[in-house]
Symmetry: D2
Subunit: 364 residues, 4 copies
């Protein structure tokens, strides 16, 4: 019910504004006995961190996470482990320039949450977007790192940027290793090179563009999920749609399924070498009837262009007077890039919750 | 947490299997004093009912709903109204031919939930799909009718089929009234006529096809929804993805937003004649930062082709032996058609919940 | 969040009014593969049923429960088992005499929920108490029978009436077997005999009295429960306080603990013959820090006297005019008696939920 | 579902251990526009703070709370107000002497959560009780201060210690003002003086004692609460039972109701001077059928004696070997005293949640 919590048995609650003193999270329901230190979390934050290339926001945040509770080192040499109590995480906000935002305190930036927050709450924290800022996603990434430890090494979660603006990758060149070699988490080196040029042009124009992210989870056993309203894919859809700027989510074949015939959409089954089912295709994205099938869980989501652009756009101020705005500030020309590690985190959080829920109901 | 419940303050719980004695629902949290009889619900069920045209399943279900609790007629002549107590709904299952399913009791139908249910629970009710059957959606539609009464006449929810197989409508011909004139809820008469032929061919082939449904809610005030994990669009994504066979969900521009530039994606604001904001476009689908903006809320979802087809597909039986299956039974060649009223219902349920949540937090 | 649901992983939702067509329940989250038929439930309902002795309401209800979903008999001879889908239960209301209540439709009966319901909802179903009737507890008892099957034979749940009006049992004569030999579920035969006379006198006076119920659960392993707000004893307190007419709940020593010194209250630990901890007392009622200790879980609750009595009491009508009321109807002179099986059911429901929650978080 | 969260629409999540770097809380669902600074919270923390008299623990904690999010000062001079976003609170732990606890790292202290935590999680943070420490209650008190602001000045919440060990107050001498004049929050000056002597003797003996706390909320309008499982009194019972060391909870007449006759227990109604119902007694503690009646909400709870005493008690170590323990450390001889502000806080939190839930469902 809580507006700022995600999950049920493995449950994340986040707090904090873009320009407040800090942002934080509470991870409740974590199984006990899992080795956990800041070093397990930091690498994932570093992937998402602004200032890492010219293609993302130059805001300088070291994003050093602190674990404030829920772990204990008994001194026996094994290092800290989770205790089953809530794990509190906190990151200080450092490079805060609220001054940059004074110009927009009485304006509603088109495409941003400004007007909606004012309409709902009667006021808003206009410094850096306040609660609606994508800075909140740092805590998703941090919590996602814990979720990965809960899932264990058997479940591998990876994401890639597969489209930037109108230009999509060539899937025949997909190479997961390549995602570490460019600033876009792009699995296709050739396309990545073109995106460099595309983004440089956009940045010169003071414009921005959208993107598509694809997330895979392999090693998910068959049986996670639940019928009807607790479906794994329904929870994944909510998880991804809750990421700022996301406008669409697909599982497996997604919208392409609408144009298919039944013969083609069926994921036929054969007996694999290991005696387990071997599916001949994965149009269902690893989920059947809301429950994992043992295939890779495959989710895609579309991110809209950054709303903060230099080109002037027409808008209203808080007195409902007509005016216009062009944003300076320090913004990502394509927020989809930094959404890649966030998508991975949301996959990890959703799966960890369903792993515990499945174990609770069935004992498996 | 409950796997078979949807919503928080306005909360639906459903139960029942395709071939059990009945299906039912409990709607908890309904505001008191709302006039409600079976006659308010039945028309929506009739829209979804099988057997209504040659293009949907010939299963004969009268789908007469009974209200078993939560309403009270004090005899003063105003008729029954809700009391604030849970409203229980029930529909008997009539035209049940479990015999049709005996052939598949030990098989896993490709694309169906059969294997996943067996993997999760160690058994499954194979009669008509059991709990995973789309028959459950009748209760969504019934509960959605109550949600509409909670929302009141100011909020108008309508849906249409906008693509059937590879053939999409021409949006320039969109006419809401037309959706009542054809068997497809199609807003474009010309395309509807082509779909007639398309579906007749598919049926002759014993095949099936996917579809895309678009749902609009107008009259939603600005301010419903919540930040971060309680976003209106995140809840809508889960709502739509929880409908059987849905593989993708979009809000506003959806996946098309990925290819846009920031200048085009911004929904610029002007002052309307009524003094309220008038947006010059609706790429955000009526939701900004997870909160309604006062524009129409626009959601689309993709439905995969019916998995039950006459063409033989390869699969395994419960002993993991390789075999094949072709389905006879009575099936919709395009389940997307009957998903139209279901999409409307999920929109109504999501909005009613957020209306009450917003009122709870803010008093508005 | 739902007002009419109890539990999280093992979750009960009930519906129905005293004089509506039926009452019902949905049990969601039940583990699969548990043998379950109506015959597993009926004996517990029979214990609670009105009309079973002259000391309880003469209302004639056969209270035959029907299972409408969530079980499946694959025909292999093992009989029906749970499938993991929601189990829907229903009991028809038979001996409904709403006429008896017409006199009170515009009055607020002192001690009843009448005024509070009117104040909250602006109306109330006055027939037999509507939703606030203790008839709802039949569904708790039915669901409790399923919870017992989830817990398995290792967990034994029993309750007894230990005080009726001012007269308490002599605990030195406690004999569980005796609870089956009298109309009061009294473990002390001598006191039971005195209660016969006490109640006959009360009934002659048209009066009523309160009672205290004690519930034991043995065989609960150490480790169920959770810190802080998910404490096993906090959930038990809510469970028992939610039973109609309950005004107090104790765990272990309860209020007597207030007068104790630390030396006496400590439940000292020795090593038992089985190598497990053997506690030398159970002042903590089997719960330490909100988590079960392996000792018997012991809960007591106080039930107020039935509010419906023949003696005239002063009250108001719905126009806020002063008036008076004396109730005829068919009422239990001591609702505490029939609360005994309800207390057992609430213990079973709470434990089953915590068993699954514990298993979810820890895998145990 | 979350083990460390309380409430639904107004929702508190706490984290932190007694000897970790800090403890904290997240308050989600707070209505917007409420003036809030640390100065609104600090006085309540000061009431609960250790070291304030010789009768409570000498641990030195300044307990300075920081608000880290969810408030915003727009610079217009009105000061910070809530924004509707989560309010994060944090208090650093200062006077931590984990060394004091090394002796008990491998022991289970009788009456403490030690054994139960080890049984559940396989390990425990033994420093100062870790997560099971009553230090967590500081965050309840802090969040309770926010809940009071949500409730507004019309709802007045006060608590008093009414029994310490075997000695109860004389209710005829009840004077709320007196609670500010002694170290016990005692409303009866004469009894408070006797308690001084009682506690001095207990401290000399190295012993401890239990207590009873009574909490009143006046000004609660009729209509808050909900039927069946969302009852206001059920939620209050859980709220109070979740406070460390609490073993019993009563509403209104509580256990005394068991000995009453119906004529005496009925809270008769007359028309008050204001036209509203005036009840002639309050045996129901302001709650009828789970819903507030407009009378004062009255709750009592019993606190067991502090388990940490100097007298040696028999116990086991983690190898299940028999041993004994006597606790030095810095402990309250009667934890019931500092439970008084905690009881007030839990009342405020429960009422604020129900206020929002009632508003959500009914619009009132």
């Amino acid at each position: 019910m809580s507006h700022n919590s995600f999950g049920h048995l493995f449950r994340l609650t986040t707090w904090g504004e873009s320009h407040g003193p800090a942002i934080g999270a509470v991870v409740d329901g974590c199984p006990p006995g899992i080795a956990l230190t800041e070093a397990d979390i930091q690498p994932f934050l570093d992937k998402r961190r602004p200032g890492s290339s010219r293609h993302v926001s130059p805001r300088q945040e070291s994003d050093r996470v602190r674990i404030l509770s829920g772990v204990f080192d008994d001194g026996a040499g094994g290092g800290p482990v989770t205790t089953g109590a809530p794990v509190a995480l906190m990151i200080g906000n450092e490079d805060v320039r609220s001054k940059d935002y004074e110009a927009i305190r009485d304006l509603w930036r088109p495409g941003h949450a400004d007007y909606a927050y004012d309409a709902k709450y009667g006021l808003r924290d206009w410094r850096g977007g306040g609660r609606s800022s994508a800075r909140e996603t740092a805590m998703r990434v941090a919590a996602g790192a814990i979720a990965r430890k809960v899932l264990g090494d058997g479940v591998v979660i990876r994401a890639a940027l597969i489209q930037l603006g109108p230009r999509a990758i060539d899937r025949s060149r997909w190479d997961w290793d390549e995602t570490a070699n460019n600033a876009f988490f792009c699995p296709d080196a050739q396309t990545a090179a073109q995106w460099e040029a595309d983004l440089d042009a956009l940045r010169r124009d003071g414009s921005s563009t959208g993107a598509v992210v694809e997330v895979h989870a392999s090693g998910v056993p068959a049986g996670w999920g639940a019928p009807v309203y607790g479906k794994l894919d329904a929870d994944l859809a909510a998880a991804m749609m809750s990421i700022p700027a996301v406008k669409g989510v697909e599982i497996g074949a997604g919208f392409a399924a609408a144009a298919m015939r039944g013969e083609d959409a069926a994921d036929e089954m054969r007996r694999g070498a290991d005696g387990r089912p071997a599916f001949l295709s994965n149009h269902n994205g690893g989920v059947l009837g809301g429950i994992s099938s043992g295939q890779d869980v495959v989710v895609r989501f579309a991110v809209k262009p950054t709303s903060s652009i230099r080109t002037e756009r027409r808008t209203l101020n808080r007195k409902f007077e007509e005016t216009a705005i062009s944003t300076k500030g320090r913004h990502d020309p394509c927020v989809g890039i930094r959404a890649v590690p966030v998508g991975e985190a949301m996959m990890a959080l959703t799966l960890a919750d369903h792993m515990l829920r499945h174990r609770g109901q069935t004992g498996a």
